[in-house]
């Protein structure tokens, strides 16, 4: 239990630093912007209470907002992400059958499940984020291409980090 809290806390700090000081400066052709920090919300353990999940998502969003000068933008997208996460997990994962508090990571859940999970949640988050940021229909085409390309970039980074921290014999 304490170990899970410690790991998630360190992940929280590390992802904020990576997002703010590294990924903020990376943009491919002005179209593809990675928002890897949502990986924190994706990787929280299955049994987390809903209230805590929403509170953490809101906190993460508002901290990123403070660095990006956009109060409320990332926070609202993150809260939506947390809601979609609850729906997705309640549909695809049966409640019992895990022995020691599992997390929805690549090494535990397998590639196929994790890829679908990351892709769908990222697309919800990015679609909401980009449309709220631009907030007009006249640029929808441009917004749409940014949304697609950024989602691909973010999911790619998620898979890379999942493989980087791959632990083999966790689930048999």
């Amino acid at each position: 239990m304490t170990r899970t809290i410690l790991i998630n806390f360190m992940r929280f700090i590390a992802l904020i630093f990576v997002q703010v000081f590294l990924l903020k400066n990376i943009t491919l052709y002005n179209l593809s912007i990675p928002y890897l920090y949502i990986l924190f919300i994706l990787l929280l353990p299955f049994e987390i209470p809903n209230a805590l999940l929403f509170a953490l998502a809101f906190l993460m969003g508002i901290i990123i907002d403070a660095f990006y000068d956009t109060p409320g933008l990332h926070a609202s997208a993150c809260v939506l992400l947390a809601f979609v996460r609850i729906l997705f997990i309640s549909i695809t994962v049966q409640k019992d059958g895990f022995d020691n508090d599992p997390e929805p990571t690549l090494s535990i859940m397998g590639f196929r499940w994790f890829f679908t999970y990351a892709l769908i949640l990222t697309m919800f988050h990015h679609f909401f984020l980009f449309n709220l940021e631009v907030f007009r229909w006249s640029e929808i085409q441009y917004t749409f291409s940014r949304f697609i390309l950024s989602s691909l970039f973010t999911v790619f980074l998620m898979l890379v980090s999942g493989l980087l921290f791959f632990r083999r014999k966790e689930r048999k």
Binding site: A55, F58, F67, S76, S138
Partner: protein, 276 residues
């Protein structure tokens, strides 16, 4: 009542979602419509400090560029020195000149946070109200116009960059003095902007310099860019043209904040006219 409680606990995720989402959106909308200096921006203590640290590292890496630019500016300034002109009159007497009174004051500031890839870009600089920076002052650098001061804290300030959908700068064509306004285009290219509202009897040239007009916060004649494309996008009575910006926003290091000493007087006068 019991049933209501059961209903709420059963669908608690949905209700929690509504609560958090509404509060997040309230923050977002409130901030956007009033443009207040909330404490959730990069001029507050914690984020400002972290950005300053990261920037120290960054500035060390770009010392070479900064040096080159300074050397160039030195050369340009040296050209204006009296000693570099040949004096062809023999006798000179000193006159205390009361014709000139300083109107614009410049404060040097360092850029500690910057972005070019968003729809609305902001720049954070390391000078604030203690150093005499106030809201709505203009910001320029050696190459041209950078933006307008938006929020000020004690030692930091946030500048609304030229690359922002709400930035309009009064501009003119350098040769025939036609007045228009400069905005950032829809394609989010950090090197291009649009010059709009030039009346269509004007014949602009390709490559003509675009500078600030005297009607803006800036001194007249600060460069903005060059006309690169004359095609009229949405025509009618006005010409729209594409301008290549002279400032490279992605490499911004040092800027000058312009304090127009007569701005207050002008604003007061114009407010009187509106009251009548």
């Amino acid at each position: 009542m019991r049933n209501l409680l059961i209903f709420i606990t059963k669908y608690n995720a949905f209700f929690l979602f509504i609560i958090f989402e509404v509060s997040a959106l309230l923050i977002y909308i409130k901030y956007n419509s009033f443009q207040k200096a909330t404490f959730i921006n990069s001029a507050n203590q914690v984020t400002g400090n972290l950005y300053a640290r990261a920037d120290e590292l960054n500035s060390y890496l770009s010392l070479r560029d900064a040096n080159e630019q300074l050397a160039k500016e030195n050369a340009a300034l040296r050209n204006q020195l009296k000693s570099s002109f040949y004096v062809d009159t023999l006798a000179k007497q000193k006159v205390t000149d009361t014709v000139y009174k300083q109107q614009y004051e410049y404060t040097l500031a360092k850029v500690i946070n910057n972005s070019v890839n968003k729809r609305d870009n902001y720049i954070t600089i390391n000078r604030g109200s203690k150093e005499g920076i106030a809201k709505n002052m203009g910001v320029i650098c050696a190459d041209g116009v950078v933006g307008i001061v938006m929020y000020v804290s004690d030692h930091l300030a946030v500048v609304q960059s030229l690359l922002h959908k709400d930035t309009h700068i009064s501009a003119m064509l350098a040769d025939n003095h036609a007045i228009g306004s400069l905005i950032w285009g829809d394609d989010l290219d950090p090197h291009k902007a649009l010059l709009v509202n030039i009346t269509n009897n004007v014949k602009p040239r390709m490559g003509e310099l675009v500078v600030t007009s005297g009607y803006s916060l800036f001194p007249a004649g600060v460069p903005l860019g060059k006309v690169v494309n004359l095609h009229t996008k949405s025509g009618g009575f006005f010409l729209n043209m594409e301008v290549a910006l002279s400032v490279d926003f992605s490499k911004l290091q040092y800027v000058n904040v312009v304090n127009n000493k007569y701005a207050q007087q002008q604003a007061d006068l114009e407010a009187q006219e509106k009251q009548e």
